[in-house]
């Protein structure tokens, strides 16, 4: 699929499964920040979703992967605007199922709250959207990224990896350098407006949450149980924040055990 222009930027999109117009459910994947891109879903959940008869739509967030890297527009709210514009550009007018990993889950949740008519269901993998733990997580990310940005800029990290023959890590460092030092991502993240419990409680679609038992974001699981009416939460023993990468088979089994049932119920409605 050619790249898609939406909300004034160019996005790398992978469309797998039935073409537009075929009446099958659509699952849209929203990845996490900086070193993440659509490939983390491409290798894990996209294939099983297509095998189950749905279409999978994956895209790189602005500044990430193979999408364009504009200077500004990195708040979660701008991410929602990007996602809505992409759905429009792809002519996906029926409600879609959103799968968000980490920060991608915040974008997905914001869309489900602000435009409930566009979202049929929500899978949140290691995402936290409200409360003091979410605030602390964002602060931690800002601090970590700020230190990383300084290191990348002044210590020539990418060049040192390249000189050492570590080409793959060098490429990752180059990408991170461009994003952290060449855009407003860190500043935008520092001003992030998180949700409150009442907004979470407004989520009307079915929600599946998957968390690592050792994750610093485990409070997000409690938030879902407490505030979201139609939700199921799974906590994976021994796992931390990177469950999608480190427990991809378990995550796949959980998602594919839940999503088809929710899709069938959605059809019945």
């Amino acid at each position: 699929m050619p790249d898609i222009c939406a909300n004034g930027s160019r996005f790398h999109v992978q469309w797998l499964g039935p073409k537009a117009g075929a009446r099958v459910p659509t699952v849209v994947f929203v990845h996490g920040l900086v070193i993440d891109n659509l490939s983390s879903f491409y290798y894990t959940l996209a294939g099983p979703v297509v095998s189950a008869g749905a279409r999978a739509v994956l895209y790189d967030l602005r500044g990430h992967g193979k999408s364009c890297r504009p200077l500004h527009g990195y708040t979660a709210q701008e991410g929602v605007t990007d996602l809505c514009a992409l759905l429009d550009a792809l002519n996906l007018t029926e409600p879609v199922y959103l799968v968000g990993n980490s920060y991608g889950g915040l974008i997905a949740t914001r869309l489900a709250i602000s435009a409930p008519e566009r979202v049929a269901g929500l899978v949140l993998i290691e995402a936290i959207c409200a409360g003091p733990r979410a605030t602390a997580w964002i602060e931690d990310m800002v601090n970590t990224m700020t230190v990383g940005a300084l290191s990348l800029e002044y210590e020539g990290t990418a060049g040192r990896y390249r000189d050492a023959g570590l080409r793959k890590i060098a490429k990752l460092a180059t990408t991170a350098d461009a994003l952290l030092n060449g855009t407003s991502l860190i500043d935008d993240l520092a001003t992030e407006q998180l949700l409150d419990a009442a907004e979470l409680a407004a989520l009307g679609c079915p929600v599946l949450g998957i968390y690592g038992a050792q994750s610093e974001l485990l409070d997000g699981a409690d938030d879902l149980r407490r505030h979201v009416r139609d939700c199921r939460v799974e906590v994976l023993d021994g796992m931390a924040h990177t469950v999608l990468r480190d427990a991809s088979q378990e995550v796949r089994d959980i998602v594919m055990g839940w999503l088809p049932l929710v899709m069938t119920a959605g059809d019945a409605r």
Partner: protein, 92 residues
């Protein structure tokens, strides 16, 4: 060298840049990750270009669907050549 290997080298040059491949001898044993330092997102683009070239019958998502992440990272050019040749033969 098989013609499919030739074609796959051409597709890789398109994804990575011909300049990058000038100092790399690609054989069936060449690993996408260790030898070519292909980033995961570049492998996605490679997969897309492969399907554009050979059509829907060549679907790397299906090939890697049953693999764990370590196996995916360790894929060699020869494995992809073998998969493509098998798909082409099956649909001939």
């Amino acid at each position: 060298m098989s013609s499919v290997l030739d074609e796959i080298v051409g597709i890789l040059a398109d994804v990575l840049g011909a300049e990058f491949l000038m100092d790399t001898q690609i054989t069936a044993d060449t690993s996408f990750s260790d030898d070519l330092a292909l980033e995961s997102i570049e492998f996605v683009k490679f997969s897309e270009r492969l399907q554009e070239h050979y059509g829907e019958r060549v679907n790397l998502v299906a090939l890697i669907g049953g693999m764990d992440i370590n196996s995916i990272v360790g894929i060699t050019v020869g494995q992809v050549v073998g998969y493509v040749e098998a798909q082409l033969a099956a649909s001939a």
